[in-house]
Symmetry: C2
């Protein structure tokens, strides 16, 4: 037990209380990560948890058999985090096998749920944190914090959901993308030039496939140099960007963390001149190799560097760009000179020898371990708050602060919303951009991981999230793409992305059937956008979850149901995530309405509570509407710009009566301009329903209600908005 | 269409008909693999399938949307093989991610199931065969056979099961292990000496854990040399073997394919003298490196080499050994001199350079690709039937023929049954040994893969099968081990095996709870052995499946249920294969009896047809008994030698009446000596049952029947055997 300002392990602890009851404990003199925005007031509070400061600091909790742990963000495995190991240390991990303990994000928020209480914790620390949630010892939850200077926030609440809300308030409102960011995006590493991208655009148009934008992977750059566009491959990039934008199609270029070392290259020259690069032990810019060969890494922890680098994005906004993805910003490092030289030396020593097994594997592994070797993190430094920090100690801030820089630069130049996602992240970055879940693969298990990962990431503050649909690495099948579409149709970020030399993965790259199914599913996505956007905006505003695990809503026996998810208060999803399955088992905790959505029609039937077998065609979306809930559907257009809200369809499952707030705005302005909140209530009467629509959306002329009651009877009501 | 002796692609085709209707087509002059034992009679039969001889030969089938494909043996993925790629080319694959198209076995049997017919095919060819079951083109099943000389068998039957039976008859009766091989085996790469193995044995004894044997990984050898035992680490191996065997505990040493090049080492010297090694292009023994450094590979395709190598096992049998595992026999190759030199040259060229991304990845991949590079297969030759064969062309026979050699040698010296498993295999080897599914990992998805893989392997002739329980690579948790035990408790081969430097994985290496649960589950396994052994022996004898997929038994809507399996005619399994799950959904195609089995008691309740949520504790086995079926249970002993059959418990679910044949024998003799077949029938009467036991087992004194009827009423009947 450590009281306020008590000493333990030689470190002073300060404690504060936030207005929503959050307790904050300051150990030593932590780096200001900027993750938490709420300020607390000093108050003498005991830190009752079992902590031993040291290298590493050890924080432990007893685990009862029934305890569960939620949160920790972007990690593989079950939603209930119990029983394995996780490492918060952003890593360029290209092979997401289930034993991987770290991915690209460092999300140190978790909720420890016990039988009759739950507490949320946030470890505000930019270095390595390792969680053992009962793997090594089944009854011990241990956390190793690799440092003595950090903050811990404790968040209280009657339910896990309320704890999430308290935490989200403490860390501040999440990034808001433009409405068009909810469209469908095509991407591929390997679209080599303007011609190929135009072909993609034309093919989507020809096939009547919705399309909101095309991501540009590093193929567009000149020699992998940030803030350049290959003149050869994109002779008039600005005109091209403008031409597509006129059709509602945005180009979203990639920016990598490393800056190529090349005399005469502006970003490099400015970076040197402005002392913007991370330094090695001898105060020279640190050299490592990534895509362009040797690079320097901008020191995003310096505010002057963020400001400088943010301004670099103007190169893109001046060309008409309104969205960017920041990549390789853990940062990924292919090799550095020291380790490469050692590897080459070792290889030379092996020449002509009869290597025994140990020598052989040492040789092989030495070359394999050049990639993203963490030794490199001991070799360069940041400057922050006039202090020097070894990279290793502040590692998890790197991608986060790069994305802050981008956000600030883009905001300054565009003065409206923009699309911004990052591969690396830590909590705090959620205010500046979204994340995609990195280099997954065309594996069925990765579709399942995608489903499970969404609520865990959402709890950590990130809302604009999604996985590379169809899988980045490996060979996708038409069936996998289609099934993945059926889930991503509900994710805020819906991007189909694949790696160089993998099988083409556009919806038209497979059979005629896959094309038809994809078209139908994408149109359904666009029908859902008014609802998804409304739900996103309300969730961010009210600090509530967009993706909610079953365990947060339903009793004990549904805790383990992790391949079903809730969206907002309205929906339950139960996607197919296995091969060759036309059915799956679904476990309904309560009677719900089953929605079968195709482009033209939405069917409603009742599904009883309990386990049941459900069929899924490849060309429809099926999901469940919870009791007394409704969702609005728009039209199946091919672009967000075409989505008028003149006509809505509302699907409702009404027992006692339902109320819904539909949010909309102009989709692009920053701030609270143009916000509309329409209130719809449905009250059952003897043979019909009373419908009230307050503050109807400005564009709206009518709503077609389709209402199912608890006996499965359906009524359609055409509701005209009075002018 | 190719008629008998018709020409196509310049090749003569001969056709034959076997007595059970199997059609055999001979293309060119195939290598005699020995896979098929039945002989056909020449008959003019058309080969109606679409085939184009060439390099590769292409065989294609149209796929209707409803078509399914079963078989192909040891491969990852769904039981219905539709929609992906598989490669029959035995490979030392250490990383079983779901995109891997080959593992250790080459099992070229499949059944193409169409709406109203199904045909089985066996491609009898020892080289590479690639299957695309509708991945590249959804409506085409294409098979590339890398050669023009092969046999194709077509097997007919009203049901997939009957086709399997026809195929199993054609390839001959499977390997029969001793009864003790159905016990529980502990294994670990890293048990370094006699002392450590004794500790394992004593710990099992102390903890009251069943144990039938301990596998010895390559730690026991002297410098990784086959047919040596380290004198230092095992000062008196023979005495040690004898001492443990007296306690019913067998030691099962590993034998690898490569023979260390070392002057004075007997096996090497004899191999050179007898011209037993594979030759390189210059007629010198081919040199490659594996565990011991440089080795030669015995040319198991020569019958004189099989006979010589088989005799080498006498070294082990003379020490009291009665079981062996053949490993690294794809064969695995770490590197050969040519590729290592090229890699070192490339590294030298890279010294001091600013490598671009392509150069860097080329360097890294060159070293990674030393391991099991298939280039090596173009560099050595076999002699067979007085002909020289490039290794690549007969690759899949290598592990198979090594195991034939071992089987013949062990049989000759032991003159009784022995335990023999192999990592590499092809069809034909099923008559000589079992297989374990190679280097899996401590992944939950690998438990699921294990469940799905069993029936596919079984269809290809192999019965003595199982996976490394708990996972070979990676870090196992107590929970995963326990859940895996709950499945492996039903697998003929039940071995817990783990790799060097992974977390210890013995049942006592985790918490007290895991130990207790493991004990309970292992005792349950021993209670099941009489049933499992009987079912195994009957299945082999009658050419029926031990593990049967749901799709073979139940209508269409259960096709996709691939995490439930049938055992024999009696049982359905539905194991938990996900983390943190105390429940799972189960889909029952018919009303069944749910058995809850603990060491001391077996509970019976009825479970209705349809989807339902089922709870699973960690210390019991749950499984379902089909209508009118029964299973015998023995006692929860710690060793097969302790299993008397004086008393049996029979669990039965009787509606109209049930009949069961219980097989037993002395468990060790070859041939048909000592076989007993007890016939039990249960006929319901008004308030009770008539029970008849014909040819009661010699040892049997009584049977305790526990019978549940379709109303869930349970009767216990104590049945005394008349002396």
């Amino acid at each position: 037990m450590i009281g306020s300002k008590a000493r333990k392990g030689g470190k002073i602890v300060k404690s504060l209380r936030h207005k929503n009851g959050v307790e904050e404990f300051v150990f030593g003199t932590p780096v200001s990560t900027g993750a938490v925005v709420e300020k607390g007031r000093a108050e003498n509070i005991e830190f009752r948890e079992n902590i031993t400061l040291g290298e590493p600091t050890l924080l432990t909790f007893d685990l009862e058999p029934e305890d569960r742990i939620y949160g920790l963000g972007e990690h593989l495995g079950s939603i209930n985090r119990r029983g394995r190991r996780f490492r918060s240390y952003c890593r360029d991990e290209a092979n997401h096998t289930e034993d991987k303990n770290e991915l690209y994000g460092a999300h140190n928020f978790f909720i420890h749920v016990k039988d009759h209480q739950q507490i949320g914790y946030f470890i505000d620390f930019p270095g390595e944190v390792v969680y053992d949630t009962g793997f090594q010892e089944e009854e011990v939850f241990s956390i190793e914090i690799y440092g003595k200077n950090f903050r811990i926030l404790k968040i209280f609440g009657d339910t896990p959901e309320k704890i999430v809300t308290g935490f989200l308030q403490a860390i501040g409102k999440a990034y808001i993308p433009p409405k068009w960011a909810f469209g469908y995006f095509q991407s591929r590493w390997g679209y080599k030039d303007q011609k190929e991208i135009e072909e993609v655009y034309h093919r989507f148009k020809k096939e009547d496939l919705p399309l909101e934008g095309i991501y540009l992977d590093l193929d567009y750059m000149e020699d992998f140099k940030n803030f350049t566009v290959s003149k050869e491959r994109f002779p008039d990039f600005k005109e091209f960007v403008g031409k597509l934008k006129k059709e509602g199609v945005y180009l979203i270029p990639i920016i990598d963390a490393g800056v190529k070392i090349e005399a005469g290259y502006d970003t490099y020259e400015e970076g040197i001149k402005g002392k913007h690069f991370c330094l090695d032990g001898e105060e020279n810019p640190y050299v490592a190799a990534v895509w362009p060969g040797k690079v320097h890494f901008p020191d995003f922890l310096q505010s002057k560097t963020r400001s400088w680098f943010g301004d670099q994005y103007r190169f893109l906004t001046d060309l008409g760009i309104e969205g960017v993805w920041n990549d390789m910003n853990e940062p990924a490092i292919f090799y550095d000179e020291k380790n490469l030289e050692e590897a080459v030396d070792l290889a030379s020593e092996c020449r002509g020898k009869n290597l025994n097994v140990h020598q052989f594997f040492q040789l092989k592994d030495t070359f394999a371990n050049l990639l993203n070797n963490e030794d490199y993190h001991q070799r360069f430094y940041h400057r922050m708050e006039a202090k020097k920090h070894l990279h290793r100690d502040v590692h998890n801030l790197y991608g986060d602060y790069m994305t802050r820089a981008a956000n600030e630069g883009l905001g300054k130049h565009l003065k409206r919303r923009f699309l911004l996602i990052s591969r690396a992240s830590s909590i705090g970055m959620h205010r500046y951009g979204g994340i995609w879940t990195g280099d997954n693969a065309s594996w069925w298990t990765h579709l399942e991981e995608n489903i499970r990962m969404m609520p865990s990431i959402n709890m950590c503050g990130f809302y604009y999230i999604g996985a590379d649909t169809g899988g980045f690495g490996g060979q996708c099948s038409g069936e996998l793409l289609t099934r993945w579409f059926q889930f991503s149709a509900f994710a805020p970020l819906f991007r189909n992305h694949s790696a160089l030399d993998t099988r083409p993965q556009e919806p038209y790259a497979f059979s005629k059937e896959v094309l038809e199914h994809s078209r139908s599913l994408l149109k359904c996505r666009y029908r859902l956008i008014p609802y998804l956007y409304s739900t996103y905006m309300k969730a961010v505003e009210n600090y509530q979850l967009f993706f909610k695990p079953m365990a947060f809503q339903y009793p004990k026996e549904y805790e383990a149901v992790e391949d079903q998810l809730l969206i907002g208060e309205e929906l339950m999803l139960a996607p197919i995530h296995k091969k060759n399955q036309s059915h799956r088992l679904v476990d309904l905790p309560e009677k719900m309405a089953l929605v079968t959505l195709r482009e033209e029609e939405a069917d409603l039937t009742l599904a009883p509570a309990g386990p049941q077998r459900l069929s899924y065609d490849l060309d429809h979306l099926r999901f469940f509407l919870r009791p007394n809930q409704m969702i609005p559907l728009g039209e199946g257009k091919n672009n967000v710009s075409k989505l008028s809200l003149e006509k809505l369809e509302v699907l409702a499952y009404i027992r006692e009566g339902g109320a819904h707030v539909f949010y909309d705005d102009d989709g692009i302005s920053m701030g609270e301009k143009n916000q509309e909140r329409m209130h719809i209530t449905i009250t059952p009467r003897e043979n019909s329903y009373d419908i009230a629509v307050k503050k109807p959306h400005g564009a709206l002329k009518s709503i077609d209600f389709k209402i199912i009651n608890h006996r499965g009877e359906i009524q359609r009501i055409h509701y005209k908005i009075k002018e």
